[in-house]
């Protein structure tokens, strides 16, 4: 079990939240964009080149700057940065997407009315 996801991630993966893979995945899921189109869309929104979307160093900085959520480790924490649902709100705004969980949050929080 362990080797399958780790080997794929190292061999060919965009890096998920370590980089910008989750953002590209969202464009594929919601809009049915093929990879090149989805990468170009996300890269333009992030202000980077499509080939840089898997660069975990650069993307970590951009995610921090834009409040898109970052991985935490026991050495590094980001207590002042957005939590998961807060980050998804920012991701939806950045990508011009309605993220279902964010919509539910907005519908059910009284303050937004």
């Amino acid at each position: 079990m362990f080797a399958m996801p780790v080997a794929h991630a190292c061999a060919s993966g965009l890096g998920g939240m370590r980089a910008a893979g989750d953002l590209v995945a969202r464009m594929q899921m919601a809009r049915g964009m093929r990879l090149a189109e989805a990468k170009a869309y996300v890269a333009e929104r992030l202000g980077v080149e499509p080939s840089e979307l898997s660069d975990s160093v650069l993307m970590n900085e951009r995610r921090g700057d834009l409040g898109l959520g970052r991985l935490t480790t026991f050495e590094i924490s980001h207590p002042d940065e957005p939590t998961a649902i807060e980050a998804k709100t920012n991701i939806g705004d950045l990508l011009d997407l309605e993220i279902p969980a964010v919509r539910l949050l907005e519908e059910r929080v009284h303050r937004s009315r």
Binding site: A11, G21, A25, I91
Partner: protein
């Protein structure tokens, strides 16, 4: 004497082959696909690239920097390591998953429809804890709708008895029941904040299974324009258990990946996952070459993302529980490099 390099068989066992032997395996795999599915052969440079990948003695290999693809994980939230939520977080935080999937161990829509409220609650909680997109996954699994597990006549018993009309009627009855379950589960999970749904191992029970999946996809797409709908296949060829079923005028029995993609696209899928099963008696190189040749026309014709199934026993990855990283990384790179996939 030619140098022998370690490589794998389709069952994962380690064997030694020369580069010439590996090239022969690759060419034979391509030829098997050409003969069986009437697809064009891979180009010479593609064959050479496959040989380079599989004739390398390196422990690990990977695609070029900048050529990475989206990794969607079916079954990633299935209580493998800890709780389902912790498993999803592990895939997000430790395995660099681009999107994850909440699912139940009884991975069938018929089974999970009875606990959909609890699954929806789990989705709500997961959505608050994870940043990456989360889809819900299960199998159409049409066989559960026939006797003794369901109400429809058992076509697997009727067919050998020559009672074809009754067997077909049983499958048609099962299709309608399955569509209802898949749509109801899909709606409940969408309303709970799911980013998408994965109809996994579609057509496992043949053309009727596939028809149910397409109908469910169509209904959900009509209701949710930006819902992620992924249709992942069970195998490379749709079995004609019914034989006469059509979707939008296309007979489903006998479809290969490119034609499967076309009907999946018409049904509103936003991601399609072709599957090519592994022959355990052949080498990993043979299997990867055959898989690439079978799927290449599908990727070339696609207007939606292709997330090929490259897991245990499909897409050139050996059929073994403890897959070695040399075999997985080779299959991963081979499929991405040769096919220009959108994801795995």
């Amino acid at each position: 004497m030619a140098q022998r390099v370690p490589t794998r068989m389709g069952d994962g066992s380690l064997v030694q082959m020369t580069r010439a032997e590996i090239e022969a395996e690759v060419r034979a795999g391509v030829e098997a696909a050409v003969k069986r599915a009437k697809v064009p052969p891979l180009a010479e440079d593609e064959i050479e690239h496959l040989v380079d990948i599989y004739a390398s003695p390196a422990r690990f290999t990977g695609v070029d920097i900048g050529a990475e693809v989206v990794l969607s994980y079916d079954g990633s939230g299935a209580k493998t390591f800890a709780s389902r939520l912790q498993d999803l977080q592990t895939y997000e935080q430790c395995f660099a998953a681009d999107l994850v999937e909440l699912c139940h161990n009884d991975y069938s829509f018929k089974a999970v429809k009875t606990i959909t409220a609890y699954e929806a609650q789990s989705m709500r909680e997961a959505q608050l804890a994870l940043t990456v997109p989360i889809q819900y996954g299960a199998m159409p699994n049409l066989g559960l709708y026939c006797r003794p597990d369901g109400p429809a006549p058992n076509w697997a018993e009727l067919l050998p008895a020559g009672r074809f009309d009754e067997a077909r009627a049983g499958q048609e009855e099962a299709v309608e029941l399955a569509v209802t379950d898949m749509v109801n589960v899909g709606v409940d999970l969408a309303e709970a904040g799911a980013d998408g749904i994965d109809f996994d191992t579609a057509a496992a029970a043949g053309d009727a299974d596939f028809l149910a999946t397409l109908k469910a996809s169509e209904a959900l797409r009509a209701r949710y324009p930006e819902f992620g709908i992924e249709i992942g296949m069970a195998g490379e060829f749709v079995l004609g258990m019914h034989g006469e079923l059509e979707y939008d005028g296309v007979r489903l029995a006998g479809l290969w990946p490119r034609e499967q993609l076309e009907v999946a696209t018409k049904a509103g899928a936003h991601m399609f996952g072709p599957a090519v099963n592994v022959n355990t008696g052949k080498s990993a190189a043979w299997n990867a070459a055959r898989a690439c040749a079978l799927v290449k026309p599908c990727v070339d014709a696609a207007t939606i993302p292709i997330h090929m199934n490259v897991g245990m026993g499909v897409g050139g990855v050996p059929m073994t529980t403890y897959n070695p990283v040399d075999a997985v990384s080779r299959a991963s790179r081979a499929c991405v490099d040769i096919l220009r996939l959108d994801g795995l």
